[in-house]
Subunit: 106 residues, 4 copies
């Protein structure tokens, strides 16, 4: 069995519904913030959230992130690795080990 | 050449810096919201944002989403596909085509 | 000495800079989310944030909220009181005392 | 008739329900982000939102902002005016008129 191709499925889902017209970069950026707020709501008063709901809300953030990446002509994993290279140089292991300090204050 | 394994690279990056201790579910949910806000800032006054900065901020949201998924013992793509099945049934093609109406109002 | 009239000062500040054109409802809603994210960033890894920075970021959220209220022809305090009446009836004292449960689950 | 004292009403509302225990600075910062996301959701796909819902969601953001200000021992309007002084000096009228450019790029 092959792993289902997420990109193709998401693109088909959107195309069938003719929703591309709504997916401008600004609307996708808003959608990511909105869904991130719904995920955060599960942790509003305690750290002990229902796992099924967390999976659900995290999936919504991820979905809009993937749609945004495709719009940029990029693969999500490519964006992550590209950024990881920068972050590695901002946070050298010896300076940042065990500390949550922002790189501007390291 | 094999595609680099994002999961292994992210996990190693965090482990080397001993940052797992900061990555509680609540802190990851906050981090996703914070980074989503930085992405949105690029579209605060216009839809015409600098592409390199968009890639950069989108990568930050994606990175925290992936770290959160791993913590749940899930693959990001698995979460997306799981949710897509639900969303498909909430938004049947014939009812939702070309409309941005929320399913509760369809 | 009279308390300075915040509304007049904010409106004048915006008018002098001819910024009304940017303050559409959508842009104000985005701005509130963006500034809320900057406030949240101060609490990303710990609850112990610098007070001067908290005041600063909270002020930014408040400023955009006030500008949005004026645009709706409302006073911020009027909106708060209007909503408080609804919230009181959703959360009766005897049911909600000492509990952070959402009204839908009470 | 005197204008109702919002601060006293909000403080009493919270005290009656013994909710102060939940209103840590971190939880208030999360709450502001969450409610900001709900406000933004009304503008997710278009700028034409229902006014009653906008008033409602804006009131939620304002309420948490006011509760946060009180916790800091400050009045919301005092925070706004304090910040307005800084913003005035960052955005001189002659440089910023009619432009949405961030002060760092002016």
């Amino acid at each position: 069995m092959t792993v289902p191709n997420v990109r193709e499925q998401l693109v088909a889902f959107v195309a069938e519904r003719e929703w591309d017209q709504f997916h401008t970069p600004t609307n996708l950026a808003k959608s990511i913030s909105i869904e991130a707020g719904e995920l955060l709501e599960l942790f509003q008063w305690s750290g002990d959230a229902d796992e099924a709901r967390v999976r659900d809300e995290l999936a919504d953030v991820l979905t809009y992130c993937h749609l945004f990446a495709y719009r940029l002509g990029a693969e999500p994993e490519e964006l992550i690795l590209e950024k990881l290279a920068t972050t590695r140089s901002k946070y050298p292991v010896e300076k940042s080990r065990g500390r949550s300090t922002k790189y501007t204050d390291l």
